[in-house]
Subunit: 360 residues, 2 copies
C-alpha cells in the first residue's frame, strides 16, 4: 500500500531548483509526494484549486498564478485534508516568522532557512512549543548547519538519549573555510589575505558583498542553532562575541568594490597573526564555539596545531567537533557544508523522514 503526503515548495533558486530536481527523480517504495503548491519566485506560484499535483519536470514553463499570501497558503494547504509538508527553500524572514502558524495548523516544515532558528529565542520557543501540541506539524532543519552534513539530527539524538554535550567547535562557513584554508597552511605561504578574498569573490564563493561573509554573522547564526539544541538558550546571534574580519575603517565604505580596493591596506595585521601562529606550529581557522560547561558562545579566529583535523581541511569544507560525556575524543563530522546539491539533499532527506511519520 502506497502512503502519500502533500508537499508545498517555496523557492526555486539555486537550492530550490536542485531540490525540485531531486524530488522529481525520487524513487521511494510505498511513499508518494504530491506537490500541490510551488512558488517558483516571490511573485509566481503553480497550484490548482482542486489540488491536482504540479508537474515538477515542467514547472518552469507552466503558466503561473500570483503567489498566495502566507495565511491564504495555510488555508489552501489545510483545505486538502491531507498530511502536508511545507518546504521553505528561501532565506526569507517573513516566511520563517510564520512557521508557528503553519505548525499549529498541522503543516510540517523541512527547510534550510536559518532565520527561524537563529533569530530571537522567542521565535525558537514559539516553533518548538507549537510542535509539541496535539495535531501539530513536525519541524526538521538539518540543512541549516553544514548543509546536508549529518549534524543537527545526530546532535539532537545525543541530547535526547541523555548525553551531556560539553563543547561544540567547528568551521561553519564554506566561504571562510576556503579563505582560511588558502591563507593559513602547515606549509609556509606568503599569499595576502586580501588577494584570497578577491579570488574567492571572483570564483563566486562569497556573497555579492564579501563583507556579508566576513562579518561572521552567518557563522553566529549556525552556532546559535547548535547551542540551543544542546540546551543553552542563546538570546540571539548578536548576544555573544563575534569577531568580524572587516577592518573597522572599512565597515561603512559604500561598495563591495571599494572595500576590496582598500582591503590590502589591512593585510599586515592578519599576516602577523598568521606568521605568529605558523612559528608556533599552528594555523588560523575561523571557528564557532559553544562551551556548555562555562555557558559561553563565540565566533573567532582560532589557532590549531598542524596535526589537528581543522588544519587539514580541504577546499570549502565544513567541520564540527562535538565533545560530550560519551565522546571525550570528539565526534567529528566533515565535508561540503555549502552548495545546492548537498543542501537540497539534506532538505529532501528531512522531507522523507517527515513523510515516513505522517503519510497516510
Amino acid at each position: 500500500m502506497t502512503r502519500s503526503v502533500n508537499v508545498a515548495i517555496i523557492g526555486s533558486g539555486v537550492v530550490g531548483s536542485a531540490f525540485i530536481t531531486q524530488l522529481a527523480n525520487l524513487q521511494t517504495k510505498n511513499l508518494a509526494f504530491n506537490t500541490i503548491y510551488l512558488a517558483r519566485s516571490s511573485k509566481e506560484a503553480l497550484y490548482n484549486t482542486d489540488y491536482k499535483p504540479v508537474d515538477l519536470f515542467t514547472y518552469k514553463q507552466e503558466p503561473a498564478k500570483p503567489v498566495l499570501g502566507l495565511d491564504e497558503l495555510t488555508t489552501f494547504l489545510v483545505g486538502a485534508h491531507r498530511p502536508t509538508i511545507l518546504i521553505d527553500n528561501t532565506s526569507n524572514e517573513t516566511i520563517a516568522n510564520h512557521y508557528p502558524q503553519f505548525i499549529k495548523a498541522g503543516i510540517s516544515i523541512a527547510t534550510p532557512n536559518k532565520k527561524a532558528f537563529s533569530s530571537a529565542l522567542q521565535t525558537w520557543n514559539d516553533i518548538f512549543s507549537a510542535a509539541e501540541q496535539d495535531g501539530a506539524g513536525l519541524v526538521y532543519h538539518e540543512s541549516t548547519v553544514g548543509a546536508g552534513l549529518p549534524i543537527i539530527g545526530p546532535l539532537k539524538d545525543l541530547v535526547l538519549t541523555g548525553d551531556r554535550v560539553e563543547t561544540i567547535e567547528g568551521i561553519f562557513s564554506g566561504t571562510l573555510s576556503y579563505i582560511f584554508n588558502q591563507f593559513s597552511t602547515p606549509e609556509a605561504s606568503k599569499v595576502a589575505f586580501s588577494d584570497i578574498v578577491t579570488t574567492a569573490k571572483s570564483l563566486g564563493y562569497t556573497e555579492p558583498d564579501p563583507r556579508d561573509d566576513l562579518n561572521g554573522l552567518d557563522v553566529a547564526r549556525k552556532v546559535t542553532i547548535l547551542a540551543r539544541i544542546s540546551g543553552f538558550e542563546v538570546e540571539s546571534p548578536t548576544s555573544f562575541p563575534v569577531e568580524s574580519l572587516i577592518p573597522k575603517e572599512l565597515e561603512s565604505v559604500a561598495s563591495a568594490d571599494e572595500f576590496l580596493q582598500k582591503l590590502p591596506e589591512f593585510d599586515a595585521q592578519i599576516q602577523q597573526l598568521k606568521d605568529d601562529a605558523f612559528n608556533n606550529g599552528q594555523v588560523l581557522r575561523f571557528v564557532g564555539k559553544v562551551d556548555l560547561k562555562n555557558n559561553k558562545v563565540s565566533v573567532e579566529i582560532g589557532k590549531y596545531p598542524f596535526d589537528h583535523p581543522f588544519a587539514s581541511l580541504k577546499g570549502s569544507d565544513n567541520v564540527v567537533a562535538i565533545k560530550s560525556h560519551r565522546y571525550p575524543n570528539p565526534l567529528i563530522i566533515q565535508g561540503a557544508g555549502a552548495g545546492a546539491e548537498v543542501t537540497a539533499h539534506g532538505v529532501l532527506a528531512d522531507a522523507i523522514k517527515i513523510a515516513e511519520r505522517i503519510a497516510n
Copy 2:
C-alpha cells in the same frame, strides 16, 4: 496526547544494560515506552501475561521466568495488539535469523547485532523485502557500524535522495584502530606489534582471543553492510579479500596465550612494512574499502600520508570517508566506534525514530 509503544528487550550484557539504563532515564515529550518483555540472560526473562510493564530500575533483582522461544515471543508480543519494537542487544545469530518473522508479524527492530545484515545476502533480502510489506515492522541498525556514530542513517539518506556513492573507506574496528594508532605514527617509534597486541588485550580492548579481532572478519562484516546499503550486493563477508593479521603459522595454535607468546617471532615482517611506509611519509592503518566504480570490496592494511585524516586518528576511534558524486571531497565521520554507552545510544536513537513512526 502521549503516544506509546511496547518494547521487548533481549540482552542485558555490557551494551544491553547501558541501553536499559538510558531507556529508563529517557525523557521524551508525548512518547512513552512500555517494556513488556526483558530477557536478562539467555535463560531468564521478565514479563507479565497481562503485559504490565517491567520495571527497568529493578530488573536485575526481580524474580524471572524462563525466556520465551522466538515463536512464542512473537505470539506474546503480537497478542498485545500494540505497536512493538524488539531491541536485540545480543550478537546472536539465531535471533538475527528470526528477524524476517518478527518483521512480517509487524514487530519493528532496533539492534546493534551485525549478524542479520552481514551474513548471507539472502538474509538481508529476506529482511528488507519483509519490511516493505503492508503492516510489516521497521528495521533500524545504526549501531551495527561505528556504534553510535551517524553512518548508516546518513549513508541511507544519500542513496535514497539520489546521490551516487563512489567509494567508502574507513577504520571500523576500535581494537585495530588502537593497535595501528599505537604502532604506526607520524613520529618515529620502535614499539613492537606483538607488544601492542598484548597491551591491548590486558586493557580489555580485544576479544578474549585477540585472533578474533586480528582475523579481520568483524571489519569484513561492517564493510558488507555499507556495501549493501550503497547498492553493491555482497554475497557474504567471506566472499571478498580480507587480509588477516594472524600469521599463517599461528592460526591453529591452541590457546590465546600460546598465540601471544609466539607472536613476537613474526614482528619483523610488519615492522618492515611500517618502516617502508614511514620512509615514504606514510602510516599503516587497517581499513575496509568499498569501491562502487570497480565493484570491489576489501579489508586490508592501507598506507596513508601523515596529513591524511586517518593518520591523526586517536585512541580507538573509528572513521569513515564516503566519496560520492555530491561529496568529491569525502564526507568524513569520526569518533568512538565501540563502547557500551555509544552503542546503546545508537540503538536508543533508532528506537525513538521507530516510535515516532509507529506509536499510537
